[in-house]
């Protein structure tokens, strides 16, 4: 029987379909990657609500306050004292005036009126309500005077 010789040339692999798929994947991951929610803190478990819809127009001037508890890797609360998280920094609500004043001064320096700035409050679902009210009150102390507030919640998809 005659065996067909495959020859010494390497077979040509058609790369086009693979590149097509890989580009599709890259495009997919690029589109769904969300680089905007850098302000969100993982230590905060937001309450869920059906009516919580993302704003249709993105706010120009907004800053976020994350209020939550220190948690371990399993997500269990290890300290029942709520803190405001600024990156690695944690401040108790009672001692937050200086930090809020700095934020207000920043907006005043760049020439944005404080009444146009929205304070987005991301509070953990188990934080005491009075504490959130205290935080809002602190945001309205003399020299801080923010007027717009938005309480954040995770959007619950209705069944």
């Amino acid at each position: 029987m005659k065996i067909k010789s495959s020859g010494s040339n390497a077979p040509d692999v058609d790369m086009t379909p693979m590149i097509d798929i890989v580009f599709q994947l890259i495009a997919f991951f690029m589109v769904i990657s969300n680089f905007e929610q850098q302000q969100a803190d993982e230590r905060v478990t937001l309450p869920k609500n059906q009516l919580a819809k993302p704003p249709e127009v993105k706010r120009d001037d907004a800053f976020t306050l994350n209020v939550g508890f220190l948690k371990d890797k399993q997500g269990e609360i290890i300290d029942r004292t709520p803190y405001i998280f600024f990156g690695d920094e944690q401040i108790e609500v009672a001692n937050s005036s200086n930090r809020l004043r700095q934020e207000a001064q920043f907006y005043q320096t760049i020439g944005t009126p404080l009444e146009d700035v929205t304070v987005e409050i991301r509070a953990d679902r188990e934080v005491q309500s009075g504490l959130v009210q205290t935080l809002i009150q602190k945001c309205q102390e003399e020299g801080i005077e923010f007027q717009r507030f938005a309480l954040k919640a995770t959007q619950k998809v209705s069944p």
Binding site: I26, K53, E126, Q128, S129, L151
Partner: protein, 168 residues
């Protein structure tokens, strides 16, 4: 001028695919690793004009705000009683539905009085200090509207907080 014949020799130019594939895979891995699945977040606007936050401010004396009072269990912070204008709504999961219904009835009554009245109407949320924050969101949601077939029907948009209650 002599023009160089590009097809001289008639050889096909081979494109080097290996470097491109290397880069493309690097990109793919980068996007896969940086992917974080985050649930979409929404928010509720709160109307807190400057002034005396410690005193209950009435914007329009003819239109007193709807009062939503929430009492908390001091030990757990769970909701123990929900009251709408002094009327008990219960403390279970249906309490907020009942509140939503009461707000709907009041909104209909206001609509009959005129569209301006509805725009001016405020809701004042008055929780106990220790109440879990998730109840606030539920109450605000019940006052602001209802989802009907995936669309939001807005009831009241002016929501504010009552003065802070003392911590127990």
């Amino acid at each position: 001028m002599k023009i160089r014949n590009r097809n001289e020799g008639g050889e096909k130019i081979e494109v080097q695919m290996a470097p491109m594939i290397d880069v493309v895979f690097q990109l793919l891995i980068f996007f896969m690793l940086t992917l974080k699945i985050i649930e979409p977040e929404g928010d509720f606007d709160i109307n807190m004009p400057l002034g005396a936050p410690q005193t209950s401010s009435v914007t329009d004396p003819d239109l007193p705000p709807f009062k939503v009072r929430m009492e908390a269990d001091p030990a757990t912070g769970a909701l123990s009683q929900l009251l709408f204008n002094g009327q008990p709504m219960g403390n279970d999961s249906t309490a907020f539905q009942r509140l939503n219904l009461e707000i709907f009835k009041s909104v209909n009554a206001l609509k009959a009085a005129g569209p301006e009245a509805l725009e001016k109407q405020e809701v004042e949320i008055d929780p106990d200090f220790g109440l879990h924050y998730k109840n606030i969101i539920e109450a605000i949601s019940a006052c602001s509207g209802k989802m009907v077939d995936g669309k939001m029907v807005r009831y009241i948009s002016r929501i504010k907080f009552a003065p802070i209650r003392e911590e127990n």
